[in-house]
C-alpha cells in the first residue's frame, strides 16, 4: 500500500523526493517543486520587474517544464516579467523539425510568443550540411558553439534582458564531473554559477540549478505536459554520456550526491596565482571570446574555406598547416607566374608536408610558440 503524504497526511504519496527523501502526494509535490524554484529565483535575485525574459525552448522535457513553471510563478508571485519562447533551429531533419512542432504547440498551450532563429539564417550552414562536411565526429562541438551564440543573438533581436535555460541539477553535476576529468579549471569555476554572461553579453540564468531531473520528469508526467523525447540523430556525445551514467549510478546509491557535487563545485577556490584565460571580444563578430577571434568565427571560416577541422581541437596545428599551404601556393605563383591549377597545388602540398616536418625537427623555441 502506498504511504500517506508526509506533508498533508491526507492523500496517498506518489513520489519520493530524491533531495529530501520526503514522500509527497501530487498536489504537495507540485507546490514544493514550484516554490523551491521560486525560492531559488528570489535567493539569487534572478529577475527584476519589467524585464523581458527569453526562455530557451527546445521542446524537450527541461525547457517545456521551465516554460510552464516560469509562467506559473510569474503569475503567482507577480514577477512582472514579459516571457517569450526562443528556439534555435539547427537544421537537423527528422529531429529538430519534429521538436519545433512541440515548441509550437507549447506556444499555444502556454500562450507565450515564440521566435525561432536558425543556423541557416545566422551562419549560412545547417547542421545537416555541416555533418556532410565533417562527418559524425566533432559535429557536436560545432552545434554547441553555434547554439550558444544563436540563443544570444535571437534574444538580443527580441530586445530581451535575460535568457533562462532548462539546465537542471543533474546536468550541472555532470558538467562539474566533466570539467574535473578534463582538468578545465576555468570552466570548473564558472559552471556552477546560476547566472553567467553578466560581463558582456546577455545574462543567462538557470532557475532549475537545484532541481532534480527525476522531479522535472515526474512533474511533466503528472501534469501531462507535452514534450519531445527523441535523441538527436547526430549526437552520440560520448563524453557527456559517461558522466551522465556515472551521476545516475551515484544517485541510485545516494540521491543527495547530485546536490553535493554541485556544492563542491560552488566551493571550489582557485589560487590567485593561477593564470586564467581572460575574456575579451571577438575582433570579427564582437561576441565574447577568450581569443582574438571567437570559436564560432574560426569554425565558420573553416567551413566556408573547406577546412572544417580549423575550429576543432588544436587550432594552431591546422592553422599552421593551412598557412604553410597558402605560403607554398604563393611561392608557386611566383615561380609559375600565376598559374595555380590543382595539379600544381598538389605538388605544393607535398612540399609543405615535408618542410613542415623539417621545421618541427629543427625548431628550438623561436617559432612564436606554435611548436
Amino acid at each position: 500500500m502506498p504511504r500517506k503524504c508526509g506533508s498533508c497526511g491526507v492523500k496517498n504519496a506518489i513520489l519520493k523526493r530524491p533531495k529530501t527523501g520526503d514522500a509527497l502526494c501530487k498536489e504537495c509535490f507540485y507546490w514544493a517543486f514550484e516554490e523551491e524554484i521560486h525560492h531559488t529565483v528570489l535567493q539569487a535575485k534572478l529577475f527584476s520587474p519589467g524585464e523581458t525574459v527569453a526562455i530557451g525552448a527546445s521542446g524537450g522535457k527541461d525547457s517545456t517544464v521551465l516554460a510552464h513553471t516560469m509562467k506559473v510563478l510569474n503569475e503567482r508571485h507577480n514577477y512582472g516579467l514579459k516571457l517569450i519562447l526562443l528556439s534555435v533551429d539547427e537544421g537537423i531533419t527528422g529531429y529538430r523539425d519534429d521538436s519545433l512542432e512541440t515548441v509550437k504547440r507549447n506556444q499555444q498551450q502556454y500562450d507565450l510568443p515564440l521566435t525561432i532563429v536558425s543556423y541557416e539564417e545566422l551562419y549560412g550552414w545547417t547542421m545537416d550540411a555541416i555533418v556532410k562536411q565533417i562527418g559524425l565526429k566533432n559535429n557536436c562541438t560545432f552545434c554547441g558553439v553555434f547554439r550558444r551564440q544563436a540563443l544570444d543573438r535571437g534574444a538580443m533581436m527580441l530586445g530581451a534582458d535575460k535568457i533562462v535555460t532548462g539546465h537542471n541539477a543533474d546536468d550541472i553535476a555532470e558538467t562539474v564531473i566533466m570539467n574535473v576529468l578534463r582538468g578545465d579549471i576555468a570552466r570548473l569555476r564558472r559552471c556552477t554559477a546560476i547566472t553567467t554572461g553578466t560581463d558582456g553579453y546577455l545574462p543567462r540564468c538557470k532557475p532549475f540549478k537545484y532541481t532534480y531531473e527525476k522531479e522535472i520528469v515526474m512533474y511533466a508526467y503528472f501534469k501531462k505536459l507535452d514534450y519531445f523525447s527523441t535523441e538527436c540523430i547526430y549526437s552520440p556525445n560520448a563524453y557527456r554520456g559517461f558522466a551522465r551514467a556515472y551521476i545516475k549510478d551515484l544517485e541510485k546509491i545516494r540521491p543527495s550526491a547530485i546536490i553535493d557535487i554541485i556544492h563542491s563545485g560552488e566551493s571550489m577556490q582557485v589560487k590567485k596565482e593561477v593564470r586564467m584565460p581572460t575574456q575579451t571580444t571577438c575582433t570579427r563578430c564582437h561576441y565574447i571570446s577568450s581569443n582574438e577571434v571567437c570559436k564560432a568565427c574560426v569554425m565558420l571560416e573553416g567551413l566556408n574555406k573547406g577546412r572544417p577541422r580549423l575550429g576543432i581541437g588544436k587550432i594552431h596545428k591546422e592553422r599552421r598547416k593551412w598557412d604553410e599551404e597558402l605560403a607554398a601556393q604563393g611561392k608557386l605563383q611566383t615561380v609559375d607566374g600565376g598559374g595555380t591549377d590543382s595539379g600544381n597545388v598538389q605538388v605544393a602540398d607535398g612540399e609543405t608536408e615535408s618542410s613542415a616536418g623539417n621545421e618541427q625537427r629543427t625548431c628550438s623555441g623561436v617559432c612564436s610558440g606554435v611548436c
Binding site: A13, G60, M218, Y221, T230, E231
Partner: protein, 99 residues
C-alpha cells in the same frame, strides 16, 4: 491463471520497444507470485527489441529510468519486491533523453 498487466514506456524508453508506448500483456502462470524483480527480465526478453543493456543494469532497471506502479513512484512501493496484482499499470520513463 495468467496475470494481465498494462506496461507503458515513455520519455524515449519506447524506442527500445519498437516505438510502441502501451503494451497490454499477460504474464504466464507460475508457482511464485510475480514481482517487479521477475517482471523486469520478462520485459527485457519479451518486449525490449534492441539494446537490452539500456533497459536493465544488473537485476534492476538502468539508473535514469523512472518506474511508476499504478501512478506512484516505485520507490514508495517496495521497488523490486513489489508483488504484482491483476491489471496493475507499470510505467517506465526514461530521463536520459534530450533536454
Amino acid at each position: 491463471m495468467p496475470l494481465p498487466l498494462i506496461i507503458e514506456f515513455s520519455g524515449g524508453a519506447e524506442l527500445l520497444c519498437g516505438n510502441v508506448k502501451k503494451h497490454n500483456v499477460e504474464l504466464p502462470e507460475q508457482k511464485d507470485k510475480w514481482q517487479v524483480r521477475t517482471l523486469l527480465p520478462w520485459i527485457r526478453d519479451n518486449l525490449v527489441q534492441e539494446r537490452p543493456e539500456l533497459f536493465m543494469q544488473g537485476d534492476t532497471v538502468r539508473p535514469g529510468i523512472l518506474v511508476l506502479i499504478n501512478e506512484a513512484d516505485w520507490e514508495l512501493m517496495g521497488e523490486l519486491d513489489y508483488e504484482l496484482e491483476e491489471n496493475d499499470r507499470i510505467v517506465f520513463i526514461s530521463t536520459l533523453h534530450g533536454g
